[in-house]
Point group: C2
Chain length 291, copies 2
Amino acid sequence: MICCAAPSIGGVHTISTSFHERLQRAWSHSDSLLCVGLDPEPARFPAHLGRGPEHIASFNRAIIAATADLVCAYKPQIAHFAAVGAEEALVDTVSAVRELAPHAVVILDAKRGDIGSTAEMYAREAFVRYDVDAVTLNPYLGSDSLQPFLEWSDRGTVILCRTSNPGAGEIQDWPEGDPLYAHIARLAVEKWNPHGNLMLVAGATRPAELARIRALAPDVPLLVPGLGAQGGDLRAAVAAGVDRHRRGLVVNSARAILYAGSGEDFAAHARAEAMRMRDALRQAAALAQGE
Amino acid sequence: MICCAAPSIGGVHTISTSFHERLQRAWSHSDSLLCVGLDPEPARFPAHLGRGPEHIASFNRAIIAATADLVCAYKPQIAHFAAVGAEEALVDTVSAVRELAPHAVVILDAKRGDIGSTAEMYAREAFVRYDVDAVTLNPYLGSDSLQPFLEWSDRGTVILCRTSNPGAGEIQDWPEGDPLYAHIARLAVEKWNPHGNLMLVAGATRPAELARIRALAPDVPLLVPGLGAQGGDLRAAVAAGVDRHRRGLVVNSARAILYAGSGEDFAAHARAEAMRMRDALRQAAALAQGE
C-alpha cells in the first residue's frame, strides 16, 4: 500500500498556538511533569490482549485511556512501530491522544538527523504523516540538518544533548572540561531557538550534567529520559532541572508504566504506577522549591 | 495494514559471507567505486512515468536496471520512502537490486542512533524487514547504541564520521585541533570493529578531513557522499581515501544520476551519467596510485 497516512480530521492537526504555549497548557491542565513513553513490545503485552503487532494500537489506546489525566505528554518511539510494519498503529496512537488526552503534547521519538533535503522528508514524516507536536533530533550533522524542523515554528524540536544511556559519555562528555553536550547546549541557545520552539534532552541518570545544561539553557524545556528501568534518580534530576514555576521538565517513563501489570487489569496497574510517578515528581518539584 | 514486510524468497536474504567479503566481491565484479543513491523524489520523476509516490518502485527499478553493471552498491535513503508511506516500494527496491544487480551491496541510509533496546528494533527494521547488507548509523549516543547493529556480524555498519553537509563542521570539527570526527574514527578502530564489518562516512566536500580519517582508519572502507549536487571534488576525495588496491571507497551519487534526464529516455541519461562517474572514479584511483 502506497499512501500518505491520513492526518487528523480535515487535514493536518490544526495548530493555532505555539509549541511552548501548548506545553505550558499541558503542564497547567495536568499539573504533571510526567510523560508516558509509548514503546510497545508485543511480546510483553498481556496474554488476553494478544501478543502480535496487530495489537499495538489497542494496547496503546488502553494505556492512554488509563493515564490521560496524569500526564503532560506522550512519547511514541517510532522504531517500535517501524520494526514490525505498524505505521498505521502509530497514526492511530496519535489519534488516540487527540481524543482521550487532548491537552497532552505528542513527542515523536525518532532521533532523526540528516542533510537538508532529506531532513525535509523526515520533517514531513513527523509533522504531516504522523502530525505530532514535536520530534526528537540528533544534532551530529549540525545546523542545516535541524533547520527544516525548526522552520515549523508551531511545532517543537527536541535536540539530544546529554542522553541517559551508559555509552553516552564516551561521545557527549568528550573532551573533558568543555564537553560536547555543553557545546550543543550553547549552540541550542545561541543559534537554534529563534522561534522559541526548542527542547533539549537531558538524561535523569546524570544529574550533574543535567544541572549544567539547565545553567546553560535556563529557559529551554528539558525532556528527561532515564528514570525507572534505566535507574535515574528522580529527586536529583528534578532538583537539577525544574524551573522556578515548578515546570520546565517533561519526564519520561515507559516500561515501568506500560508493563506494570501483565494480567487483564494491566491498565489499572499502569494507571497506579503513573499516579505514583506523577506524585513523586510533584513532591520532588515542591522540595526543590524549598517547600 | 500491520505486517512484517516480506523479505527475500524463503525468509531473510541468505548471507554466507561476511559484509567485507561481499563488498570486495562487489568491487571486483563491477571494477567500480560508484554507489547510486536512491533518493526518489516523485515530483522530479519523468512525466510519462507518473509523479506520485506509487511510482517510486518502478522508477527505482528502471534506474537499477540501467546502472546494474556500473556500480558496486546502491544506497536507498529511507526518509524518501517513509515520508510518503512507501515502505513497500523500499522492499521492492531491495528485491530489484537482488534480481538485477546481485553483485551489488545494499546500504540503507537511515542514520539511526538510539539506546540499546530501541537500537535492536532499528536493527530488525534494517536487517529483517528490509533485509539490507548494511545500514548507516549516527554515533552521538555511543557504543551501546551501535552494539545491537555490530552484533549482526555478517552485515555492515556504516558510522557517520565527517559528513559532507555545510553545517557539519560546527559539531564534527569541534573542538579545534583534536575534533570530534577524529575521536569517532579512533573509537571506530579501537572499539567498534571486532567483527571487521565497519565502514565510516567521510564526505567528498572535505578532502583534508577525509585524508585524516583514512590515516586514522587505514583498513576501514569509507562511504563517501557529497559529490555532484553537493559540490565535492572527486579527484581530491579519491586521492585522499583510496587504498593501495584502488579500492576502499564507496562513492555515492544520487541526484546527478537519478535526474540526469527527465524525458522518456531518463534511464539512458542515468546510465550515461553513471558511466561518466564510474570512469572518472577509475581514472582518479589510477592517478592516485601514480599511473
